[in-house]
């Protein structure tokens, strides 16, 4: 399984990618929405469209909500599961993200178990992995 981790913090990208590695994902990384779109184009050209994208909300250049909308507008990427991983925890923000096309929402701070549970719920991690 392939994942794309999008966060302007290198520390947070390492943390998220590290958890995904334990769940048998190979992760690519991007530091904002615009570089994420460029990385998706590269992965698409290499026939490695990720099954999952973990997306921060507050980023420079292009934020996570704009990225979700951009991915959802492109039919090539309709099978990518989008999970917001963010500090934006108000109900209204969660609704906005889901309405834009995100599938799941994980609020920082989170634990590795919480992320694994979300991915298991989404069917991206077998029940016996990371349990």
């Amino acid at each position: 399984m392939h994942a794309l981790v999008v966060d302007d913090s290198r520390a947070m990208r390492r943390i998220v990618a590290g958890i995904l590695t334990t769940l048998h994902f190979q992760s690519a990384e991007a530091d904002n929405g615009a570089t994420a779109l460029a990385e998706l184009e590269r992965l698409t050209a290499a026939d490695q469209i990720p099954e999952l994208a973990c997306i921060d909300w507050n980023m420079p250049v292009m934020d996570g909500l704009q990225l979700v909308s951009a991915i959802r507008a492109d039919r090539r990427w309709r099978d990518i599961t989008l999970m917001m991983v963010t500090t934006e925890s108000e109900h209204g923000q969660i609704v906005r993200a889901l309405a834009a096309g995100a599938h799941e929402y994980l609020i920082k701070p989170f634990t590795a178990d919480a992320m694994a549970d979300k991915l298991r719920y989404l069917g991206l991690v077998p029940a016996e992995v990371g349990a």
């Binding site: 302007d8 290198r10 520390a11 947070m12 934006e88 925890s89």
Partner: protein, 150 residues
């Protein structure tokens, strides 16, 4: 406004346990001053805009900031460079600030984090928490911009 020092302490403890150090819990020192080491202090700041105009500031001695960055990036302390400290401290401010924002009444939005290597002049602190991490103290403040509402 429903954010007080106790809330700041609890939020910071949760962030710290998840991403910095799950073994040594942060201890609330209930308002003790920040102890600044010989290398100065690193401050991560994130602005909150809305009915409450202000900032969340995460201040910690430079040694503590480097140690936290090493843990968050999973690298040796000796390999930590300034960019690592800025990245990690900024993300700590972002996570704590985002959770503070959710506790404020009304609609707010976050800015992007910034990091300085000298104390940031506090506007008007409306809540603060001093926490002990091993031998380091951390100071978390929520302040209010001049003329800002609370």
């Amino acid at each position: 406004m429903s954010v007080d020092g106790e809330a700041l302490a609890e939020l910071t403890q949760a962030v710290w346990e998840s991403f910095v150090d799950a073994e040594i819990p942060l201890v609330d020192l209930y308002g003790a001053p920040l102890e600044v080491g010989p290398d100065g202090v690193v401050v991560g700041t994130i602005a909150i805009h809305g009915p409450h105009e202000g900032r969340v500031n995460v201040a910690l001695p430079a040694g503590a900031a480097s140690a936290a960055a090493a843990r968050m990036l999973d690298i040796e302390l000796a390999d930590v460079v300034e960019a690592d400290v800025h990245d990690a401290t900024g993300e700590l401010a972002n996570m704590i600030g985002g959770n503070v924002k959710a506790m404020l009444e009304g609609d707010h939005r976050l800015g992007l984090p910034s990091v300085t290597v000298a104390p940031t002049d506090p506007y008007d602190a409306v809540a603060s928490a001093t926490l002990l991490w091993g031998r380091h103290t951390l100071l978390i403040t929520l302040d209010r911009a001049p003329g800002g509402n609370s």
